[in-house]
């Protein structure tokens, strides 16, 4: 049942899906290119009635990526769409907030904490960022220059 829904979605998305990983019957991960992501998100949310749960952004040794989690509540399945930003220095992904309201806050949060840019966002103002934080200080990045000028990495 679950497999069928995931299979259907992946078949429908066709060449947009670059990679598929099935962790178990309730968790499926797919890779999508940044330029295909807005269409993918709108398709999942509008046509498949998937609920956008949240997005997790992270920095790996290979660069920046955001994992968007879509819940299929009728099928007990979460489809996570992994999108990798192309630019490692100034990471950026297309904004979905203009099409789907639910993306507005999380894109602002990723902008604050990871320094991910979302061109096209209707109102990309700070959400969590304190006013006195230094520019270019993004706490969820691996290497940061702290307010004291020292470089720290985690």
């Amino acid at each position: 049942m679950n497999q069928t829904v995931a299979d259907e979605v992946i078949a429908e998305l066709g060449s947009k899906v670059k990679n598929v990983f099935v962790h178990n019957r309730r968790r499926v991960y797919i890779d999508v290119d940044p330029e295909d992501f807005v269409d993918t998100a709108v398709y999942l949310w509008k046509d498949r009635h998937a609920r956008f749960a949240i997005a997790s952004g992270l920095e790996t040794t290979a660069g920046f990526e955001v994992v968007y989690h879509f819940a299929f509540d009728r099928n007990d399945m979460i489809l996570s769409v992994r999108v990798k930003a192309r630019d490692k220095e100034r990471p950026s992904l297309p904004s979905v907030a203009g099409r789907i309201k639910a993306f507005a806050f999380i894109e602002r949060e990723l902008h604050d904490l990871l320094g991910m840019d979302f061109p096209g966002h209707p109102d990309l103002i700070p959400l969590l960022r304190a006013e006195d934080w230094p520019e270019d200080f993004y706490p969820l990045r691996r290497t940061n220059v702290g307010p004291d000028g020292k470089e720290s990495s985690t």
Binding site: H69, D73, S80, K101, P126, A130
Partner: protein, 393 residues
């Protein structure tokens, strides 16, 4: 002339500081700005420097009221990443603690909603019935809140046979009181005229904002993680997902009160049918993997994601509380409504938002304070009183 009503951001009763700026024209709300981030604690970043066992304690501190929903989502994520089996008995114990929490959280909200509306009897009843629940939580876990019961692979403490019996007794005593509270709300003509048609959220609004929990279910959207993505022992006992087609604040009240009845039913069934056996499968490692865990907190789905690199701490940890998705619905719910209804509409998503003390009306031009927080609560209570008189009550 448009005035701005700032609400928030801080109050000792809130665990989630929020700041609303209501733009008010006469009595009508014409726009709203929502600001959060006043108390960002960097828990996701902290989690990267904690072991998996420590993370469960850390995420328990995210919320002071629904403190056990985050640990459950957290252990679900760890168990998903590591394919860890959990003993049956532990699943039942997790369900009992989660439902006790839902009961006391919903009753807390019902009491506050009563106070905002000038029904202080409801406030006192609801909080009185909440006390035996906190007492039984303390007996089982050692604490009225922050239970520290969850761990990857099981639970930390067993429920003793005498407490199992007491749970059944407390639920039997609570049930008629919950039904009485529900009937008092459902039959009250003043509450009907005060709450019906107020703060409308259509099913499309719910879909647009991807709203969760009672906020969605009160708009007839039947989503509930407990049923849709079963965890703990929810698929082992009989219970119902409560929905209401009303889309207004009245519907949210009814949904929460009836969910209390269902929660009491679940606790009793679990206490009666709990199997004997181990409570912990004692997992030793989480391999390199990704894990997702979610749980139905009193306010909606709590969502946790982790990425493990095979060490004893995650490379990335993400936690999302339900209010993060629900809070933006206020833009659709409150615009066009009257200022005396704003308090209850903003409180209707139950954002642990109780900060009437910090409300004040400023004249947008001069910045002068014209109304205090107490004035706003009084306006809300006076409206109820007016309706009461019209009904001859």
């Amino acid at each position: 002339m448009t005035s701005i009503v700032p609400i928030g951001p801080f109050h000792p009763l809130q665990e989630e500081p929020e700041h609303f700026r209501l733009h008010v024209d006469g009595e009508t709300v014409v726009d709203i700005d929502i600001n959060i981030g006043y108390n960002h604690r960097g828990i996701e970043k902290l989690a990267e420097a904690r072991t998996y066992d420590q993370i469960v304690f850390l995420v328990e501190r995210i919320c002071g009221i629904c403190s056990t929903s985050h640990p459950i989502a957290s252990v679900n994520a760890m168990e998903d990443a590591g394919n860890i089996e959990v003993p049956e008995r532990a699943l039942y114990i997790r369900t009992i603690i989660a439902e006790l929490e839902r009961l006391h959280s919903h009753l807390l909200w019902a009491g506050l909603a009563g106070h905002f509306l000038g029904y202080n009897t409801v406030f006192m009843w609801a909080w009185k019935y909440r006390e035996p629940l906190l007492d039984i939580c303390e007996k089982i876990t050692g604490n009225r809140n922050h239970y520290a019961m969850m761990k990857p692979g099981g639970v930390r403490r067993d429920i003793k046979p005498e407490h199992q019996e007491e749970l059944i007794k407390v639920m039997d005593e609570l049930m008629p009181k919950l039904l009485m509270l529900y009937n008092a709300v459902a039959d009250d003509p003043v509450l009907h005229s005060r709450l019906k048609g107020v703060g409308i959220l259509t099913p499309q609004d719910i879909h647009d904002h991807c709203a969760l929990g009672p906020t969605a279910r009160a708009s007839g959207v039947a989503i509930d993680v407990r049923r849709d993505h079963p965890y703990a022992a929810y698929d082992r006992v009989e219970w119902n997902v409560i929905t209401h087609p009303g889309c207004d604040v009245f519907a949210k009240t009814v949904v929460r009160l009836l969910e209390c009845v269902e929660a009491a039913k679940i606790v009793k069934l679990c206490a009666e049918n709990m199997p004997e056996g181990e409570i912990d499968s004692k997992p030793t490692e989480i391999p390199p993997a990704e894990g997702i865990g979610h749980a139905e907190a009193p306010r909606g789905e709590t969502f946790h994601y982790l990425r493990s690199d095979g060490t004893n701490r995650p490379a990335r940890y993400k936690a999302r509380a339900p209010t993060f998705m629900n809070i933006t619905t206020n833009t659709d719910a409150v615009i066009g409504e009257s200022i005396s209804d704003a308090t209850i509409i903003l409180a209707a998503i139950d954002p642990c938002y109780c900060c009437t003390e910090r409300m004040a009306v400023y004249d947008a031009k001069s910045g002068e304070k014209t109304l205090t927080g107490n004035d706003l609560v009084r306006m809300s209570q006076q409206k109820t009183e007016r309706i009461r008189k019209e009904f001859g009550l």
